[in-house]
Amino acid sequence: MTTAADRARTWVSGRDRSLWVAAGLIVLAVLYPSLVESLQDLPLIGDFVPSVSGMVVMLAFTTMAIGLNVVVGYAGLLDLGYVAFYAAGAYTAGWFASQQFDQWTFHFGSVGIVKSLPGIHLSVWLVLLIAGLFTLVVGILIGLPTLRLRGDYLAIVTLGFGEIVPQFVRNADEEGIGFDLTHGAFGIAPIDSLGFGSLGERLGLPESFQTSTDRAKWFYLTAVLILLITVFCSVRLRDSRLGRAWIAIREDETAAAAMGVPLMRTKTWSYAIGAFFGGVAGAFYSSFRSGAFPADFYFNISVFLLCMVILGGMGSVWGVILGGMLLAYLNVEGLSTIGAKIQDAGLDFDPTKYQFGIYGLIIVAMMLFRPTGLIPERRHAIELEEGVHDTPFYDVTTEATLTDRDPSDD
């Protein structure tokens, strides 16, 4: 009887501090919409406080970055085509929650629209899940032929897929493939909004976020929830058997295979799970923007997400959240705010025009000066501090022999 209680107690005490920090951050995040106005009134920094709808975009991209972190950070597979998963998620939302297929009329849990509206309209909550699962399948399909390749070859193939998918969605209309799958260059819009329907209305929750007076706030809270679930899954996965297998592959693929880690299956899972998060975030974001447009999906987004992972620290969830929020902030509002300040000061320089050059500089500077990122993963930090215990068999400098080796070093 006591063992369970003991175990619970040690679990709590071991993670006490980080749990408290996390809880504090969550409370702050939930309160943000009510604090934002007073924050924006602050002198000096007030102009730099992001709006609530800006925060929604930041959170959606951070969720994708955490998904990418599973692939790049945990399993060490450089994926330069993550935007393909974002696109897959966004278009799934377009297929199942808009008037795209107006030859059919099917409603299931749709909110905020009349039931006679043509097209497939599933509840967007359900669509988020479908998008995740569909993208997961896409991830497996992309992964199976390519994950045999190592390192930079894999990077270039994922880059190839990251280019093919956007071109496909741009061309897959009546004219291109004979069936209007993605509505070509126009994209799919409008996409239905999240909401609680008539049931929620009775509980005082908005029927549809889109028509509610607090649109941004409700999308924001949903984004926080999705991010929390993603972070939780990501942390639990990292410590699972599968996660340890990923890290083993990252550290040394040959050694991991020799220890019995099934390479293909493990790598494919990292791809599939990374894709799942990308799909959910993509579907959510397209519901927020109420559209999926092919111009959103290009290589720069893949690099942008990669930059978040590198800036924060590959493999470190907290680092990626920090890196993601920072860069997404710069992308959404920060750079234009800074640009306005610079122009107020009389200089003619527009940082938003050079944003990808700035991200490039960040990537290069981080790789050269702080390759472990802003908040390094614990394992990386320990390796840097204590070394990795690889005593040579014969240490010629101290004339030691095999028998003199300290067994604790092994």
């Binding site: 390519t146 390749l149 190592r150 930079d152 070859y153 270039i156 690099v303 590198i310 990808f356 960040i362």
Partner: protein, 347 residues
């Protein structure tokens, strides 16, 4: 689940993989043959166009393959260096020399030669400095580190082009007339196509001579085979790597000049061209110089056939997908490329 596994196992047999690969090649062959029979003149014209295009791709692909051969690094910034070199060539030819379509043939030819004499050394130095600043400090880092840095450098270089030249496209394509050099029936070979080959072929010959016969060329090949052993034999590895980047940079400048004379370019041309050229290098067998040229010409032909033929051609909307489809197919069916040797990277 068991069925899936059995299907996958069946698909992994070399016999099956080769069979699928060869039947894909056969399909392409049939497609080309039908098009040739339907419209022979158009087919040859489009083929000549593809050859011109392919020669530019070959020059860029050589830059990738040289660097990959020696460092096992995909130098993502290479395409953007190429784009910047083309834009600088525009400044030299049009802004400084003041050439236009009315200038005499001799002036234009002289301008191109002098322009190359300026941009090639300049971009050799720029490419060498990129290596010195961004890649050399990471020589002993994990292999992903320089690759990620290269992606970052690519964005930096393309933003330098953006800052210097803005978003407008530049072209010097009216300098050289599109008039036919000779005609055979409906087949037309224009001066413009000739000029591209007139620049590319001498550069290729010079490169072959350099790599085959000079001391530095031998050092490059030695380092590509085994850096440590060649260091023990007295080869200065760092200097050899720098020389490789110089060479790649000047090849990019050559390609930039040709591209400027034939097509239009702007700050982000390098991204797409870089990817195509990299595909060309992989198709030919990365690290293999002859392979890069072969791959470049093949990709150029495929692109032109796809955009120019009429029977069941997908058209320019799908060019990127086709090029990357080929890249993926090559990596799945023949990872070592057409002329390459088996590497541990593939399979």
């Amino acid at each position: 689940m068991a069925t899936v596994r059995r299907v996958l196992q069946f698909l992994r047999q070399p016999r099956v993989v080769n069979g699928i690969g060869l039947s894909l090649v056969a399909l392409v062959g049939i497609w080309l043959a039908v098009n040739l029979v339907k419209e022979p003149a158009n087919f040859v014209n489009v083929g000549l166009d593809g050859l011109t295009r392919g020669s530019v791709y070959a020059l860029i692909a050589l830059g990738y393959t040289l660097v990959y051969g020696i460092l096992q690094l995909i130098n993502f910034a290479h395409g953007d260096v190429f784009a910047l070199s083309g834009l600088v060539a525009y400044t030299v030819l049009i802004t400084i020399f003041g050439l236009d379509s009315g200038s005499s043939g001799l002036a234009i030819a002289g301008g191109i030669v002098v322009g190359l004499a300026i941009t090639m050394p300049l971009f050799a130095i720029i490419n060498g400095s990129i290596e010195r600043v961004a890649y050399r400090p990471l020589r002993h880092a994990p292999r992903l580190a320089p690759l990620i840095t290269a992606v970052g450098m690519s964005f930096i270089v393309s933003n330098v082009s953006l800052a210097l030249y803005g978003v407008q496209t530049r072209s010097a394509s009216d300098l050289i007339s599109n008039a036919p050099m000779f005609e055979i029936g409906e087949v037309v070979y224009s001066w413009k196509k000739f000029v591209a080959l007139a620049i590319v072929v001498p550069v290729l010959i010079a490169l072959t001579w350099f790599v085959r016969t000079t001391r530095q060329g031998k050092a490059m090949r030695a380092v590509a085979q085994d850096p440590e052993a060649s260091a023990m034999m007295g080869v200065n590895v760092n200097r050899t790597i720098s020389v490789t980047f110089f060479l790649a940079g000047s090849l990019a400048a050559g390609a930039g000049m040709v591209f400027l004379l034939e097509y239009t370019m702007r700050y982000d041309t390098g991204f797409e061209l870089g990817l195509i050229a990299f595909t060309a290098a992989v198709v030919g067998g990365i690290g293999n110089l002859a392979g890069a040229v072969l791959g470049g010409v093949l990709i150029g032909l495929i692109q032109s056939f796809n955009e120019g033929l009429t029977w069941f051609a997908a058209g320019s909307d799908w060019t990127r997908s086709i090029v990357f489809g080929i890249l993926i197919a090559i990596l799945v069916f023949r990872p070592q490329g057409l002329l390459g040797e088996q590497t541990p990277e593939g399979a």
